[in-house]
Amino acid sequence: MSNATLSAKRSSLRGATLPKWFPWAVAAGSLALGYGISAAAGLDSDIQWALIAAVLFVVGSYAVSAKIEGSRQAKDRTATSLVWVAFLLAVTPLASLLWETVERGVKVLDVFFLTHSMGVVADAEPGGGIYHAMLGTLEQVGLAALISVPVGVLTAIYLVEYGRGRLAKAVTFFVDVMTGIPSIVAGLFILSLWVLILKMGPSGFAGSLALSILMIPVVVRSTEEMLKLVPNELREASLALGVPKWRTILKVVLPTSIGGIITGVMLAIARITGETAPVLLLVWGTDFINANPFQDPQESLPMYIYLQFGAGSDASHDRAWAAALTLIAFIMILNLVARGIARWKAPKTGR
């Protein structure tokens, strides 16, 4: 043995290391083994052999690494493989959901579908579209945002900039409670207030009221977090220039955090766009185009999906999937817009 290899072996800083392809090899091996085991045992579900493979992957990489590299590296590898498994577990349903929706949804999704209502089409027949539902969703969500954003943002400003003592604590507590209100309860509350006590008929606006009950706490929470992120130094810098507090909030605090606030609002909108229960109770649904959210029933996308899927014919199932795809696309576009605005409005650091 040469001197070089001797000194390399004796170095206390260098231990045995597994090659870079080791995790991939273990992954491939455990996949094959998992598939083999489930074939031999006669398990026919994809989930079963995937779970077996995942367990084999975590256990296998720990065992091999513990044998060769030592226990610290083995723990490190276990953590890494757990992270990977968790990531795949989280992403697989999402990818599968997207795939499923796109595959089934594109069948009837075309310009005709987006520009026509169900007015003269029976549920069992092909044809018809979601124009009335898109219109209803846009109007109801828009109205809900119109109510919730000012209330929510102003509440958050109160909590962060002014709120001291008992009132602020009470507001925070009730916002927390509101976050947990099930959407059907919000719907029932507006039903009893708006329809049963005030004797108003079902309308898009009634739905918006229920949706804003769901949206306000989300807006308050996210705006609050964003305002808390604004460094106190900026507020003090502005106050020290002799700027009144309200102007400091308006001209320094809000512009600094506006990107995050808009993102929060968009996420809140995305959340309420998919709500079905309050809409069922308060907007009732219709097959005809009703552009007036303040009078008579309207349709909305989630309710359209629910009703079409319930109708049970092939044509209505296709329509339900296409409407679901439209809904997902709508929310995705909202998110992208929010990200764009957040990036555009973010405090600039460039030279």
């Binding site: 810098a237 700027v243 405090p347």
Partner: protein, 258 residues
């Protein structure tokens, strides 16, 4: 423009905690007064009582008198916002507004306080940036974000922002502690120029800096942690650093402390 500050019997509290006790001193107009003393002795707190920024801190409370020429800053009916227009402040860490350009940062104090014509603003911005020795470095990038400047430039930008509203007094809370020696030198030179127009009060941990820039020096100390900070003595800088009248001051300055 510069005004005299006359403090008598001033106590400042955080909630029920007495942070500084019974401070009386006079700050001469058109001069630099330095505050030195160990951490936690209340220098910054005292500085912040001079433009009513102390009460911005939750629980912050002050009693005593701070006379700005012949007006008591803590008298009845005094508007803290108006006080802060008279007494400007520069902070320890450079804090330009991140959403604003260099130009907007300097104009911020004016714009947020009222309406100005564009040409008027242009003049004031140029004058303030020149006053802060920053004009030559930023005149070609006035519309770039202020946070893109270097730390020293940012601090001079903050000084320009503070002097743009033409205060009578300029308070500086360790303005150089986050800066390198060259930027520090630039700001010390600037302080020397600014004292022609303003009354300047500077808090510093750097004894040499106090000796270099100030005309008068005040030494603060506290008996023990949890005790209120007190003014030990205030005198001409030369005297404080050569022949202070209190033993504690000499110990602190020569490093034989504690």
């Amino acid at each position: 423009m510069a005004k005299r500050i006359d403090v008598s019997g001033l106590n400042a509290y955080y909630g029920s905690f007495l942070a500084i006790e019974d401070i009386s001193m006079t700050v001469e107009p058109r001069s630099v007064t330095a505050f030195i003393g160990p951490s936690g002795c209340g220098k910054s707190t005292f500085l912040r009582t001079l433009n009513r920024m102390h009460e911005v801190t939750p629980g912050g409370r002050v009693d005593g008198k701070v006379m700005l020429d012949d007006e008591n800053l803590y008298g009845a009916g005094i508007d803290p916002v108006a006080v802060r227009r008279e007494v400007g402040m520069v902070f320890q860490r450079p804090n330009p507004f991140p959403t604003m350009s260099v130009y907007d940062n300097v104009a911020a104090g004016l714009r947020l306080n009222g309406k100005y014509k564009k040409s008027q603003l242009d003049d004031i911005v140029e004058k303030s940036l020149k006053g802060a020795n920053l004009w030559n470095e930023v005149k070609d990038r006035l519309n770039k974000p202020g946070s893109g400047l270097s730390g020293g430039q940012q601090q001079r930008l903050c000084i320009a922002r503070a002097i743009a509203v033409e205060p009578n007094v300029l308070l500086m809370d360790e303005p150089c502690s986050a800066l390198d020696p060259i930027s520090t030198l630039a700001i010390e030179d600037l302080i020397g120029e600014l004292k022609e127009q303003f009354t300047i009060v500077i808090v510093t941990h750097n004894m040499q800096q106090a000796a270099r820039v100030s005309d008068r020096t005040a030494f603060f100390n506290l008996a023990a942690v949890g005790q209120p900070g007190k003014l030990i003595e205030i005198d001409d800088t030369e005297r404080i650093f050569s022949n202070p009248s209190v033993q504690a001051t000499e110990d602190y300055i020569s490093g034989r402390f504690g």
